[in-house]
């Protein structure tokens, strides 16, 4: 049960964002730009960053939602599974491995990021913008993961929920649905 009173029909992050709509708008917009805006990293690659950080923070809600989004964007499920459990052998570019390594360091703490990890990423061709956005996305998910679990919002057990949510964040993105969420209330 959540630590505070949240709408029953909105598990996970959505109920929290509806609880506090004033703070939700700018962070939704920030997330939309970072994960869906123009970037030399693909949307799928950016979802992998969100997923690996959520996975290491053991946030089941965020891991499941962003795994679903990454799988949809990549068109297969193997890459995301490998990234979570065996990054060294995952079928992603060497550059992406170095960026995901930085993301894993950010998950531990900002100070865990080493100059060597940055140098490795640059040696594999990562740009300053890519390194910046990797760190910022990884840090952002350290926020979301703590927000979701720190208030014990509901984590649905049904996999079809995450399929639906993954489709929503792929097809609509991270901004609030224009019609709100009342249509999700069970009659």
């Amino acid at each position: 049960m959540p630590h505070i009173s949240l709408p029953d029909h909105l598990p996970g992050i959505t109920g929290l964002l509806e609880f506090s709509q004033d703070t939700a708008t700018p962070i939704r917009d920030l997330t939309q730009i970072l994960l869906r805006g123009e970037s030399s990293l693909t949307q799928g690659e950016r979802e992998l960053i969100a997923t690996i950080v959520s996975h290491n923070n053991e946030c089941i809600f965020c891991t499941s939602a962003h795994t679903a989004a990454a799988d949809l964007l990549l068109g297969e499920t193997e890459t995301c599974e490998m990234v979570k459990h065996d990054l060294d052998n995952a079928p992603v570019s060497e550059k992406m491995k170095t960026l995901l390594t930085i993301a894993k360091m950010v998950q531990k703490s900002g100070k865990s990021v080493t100059p060597e990890a940055i140098a490795n990423a640059k040696a594999q061709g990562a740009t300053d913008m890519e390194i910046h956005d990797t760190v910022l996305i990884a840090a952002l998910f350290c926020l979301y993961n703590r927000y979701v679990d720190g208030l014990a919002s509901v984590t649905p057990a049904d996999p079809s929920f995450y399929q639906y949510l993954g489709e929503r964040i792929v097809n609509h993105g991270y901004t609030r649905l224009p019609q709100g969420y009342d249509h999700l209330k069970k009659s």
């Binding site: 730009i33 360091m105 900002g110 990021v113 910046h132 840090a139």
Partner: protein, 180 residues
């Protein structure tokens, strides 16, 4: 030295804001929305939570700036800020704030560390849903900013006078949202 090439002349968070200027309004509005309101928690209490989490994350820059903003709201009582940092349980602050700082410390470790007993204790001391919510989102947000700053290798600021000046500017009206 920062890990990436940032625009010259802007120290701390400002360098990062200048690197990705179109993110700045959203980051600023978000920060202002959680720190610069007096509903439930006071502005001073909000800054104390931010300062406290930054200290736990060993982010010298955020600890310095937000400790200075908090001191400004508290009639320049820097000694109190130091006391909270060293031993908040015995500092002269309300029991409710102590309970909320304990929740913030758990959030800093990870969301799952927040326990039912911490929440019920805060409630017994009068904390509302909004105050508990705000404590968690502020603590989580500082876990974000601390990682952003240190993960980009942003240099520490050694001179406490810089924090005092910046704290005063923020507390006395500049806030965090970019001003036109």
């Amino acid at each position: 030295m920062a890990y990436i090439q940032l625009p010259e002349g802007a120290v701390g968070m400002r360098g990062l804001m200048a690197f990705r200027p179109h993110l700045a309004p959203h980051l600023g509005a978000f920060t202002e929305g959680i720190l610069c309101i007096e509903e439930g928690l006071t502005k001073a209490e909000r800054e104390i939570i931010g300062m406290f989490v930054s200290k736990l994350n060993d982010c010298q820059l955020c600890e310095g700036v937000h400790g200075a903003v908090a001191a400004c709201y508290l009639a320049d009582n820097e000694a109190l800020i130091e006391q909270i940092k060293e031993d908040y349980e015995n500092a002269p602050i309300s029991d409710k704030l102590k309970a909320l700082l304990s929740i913030a410390a758990s959030v800093q470790k990870g969301g799952k560390h927040v326990s039912e007993s911490q929440i019920s204790k805060a409630r017994e001391l009068g904390a509302t849903d909004i105050e508990i919510h705000d404590t968690v989102i502020i603590a989580a947000t500082f876990c974000f900013f601390n990682r952003y700053i240190d993960g980009m290798g942003i240099a520490a600021i050694e001179d406490p006078e810089v924090f005092r000046q910046r704290g005063k500017m923020i507390a006395e009206g500049l806030g965090y949202a970019p001003k036109k």
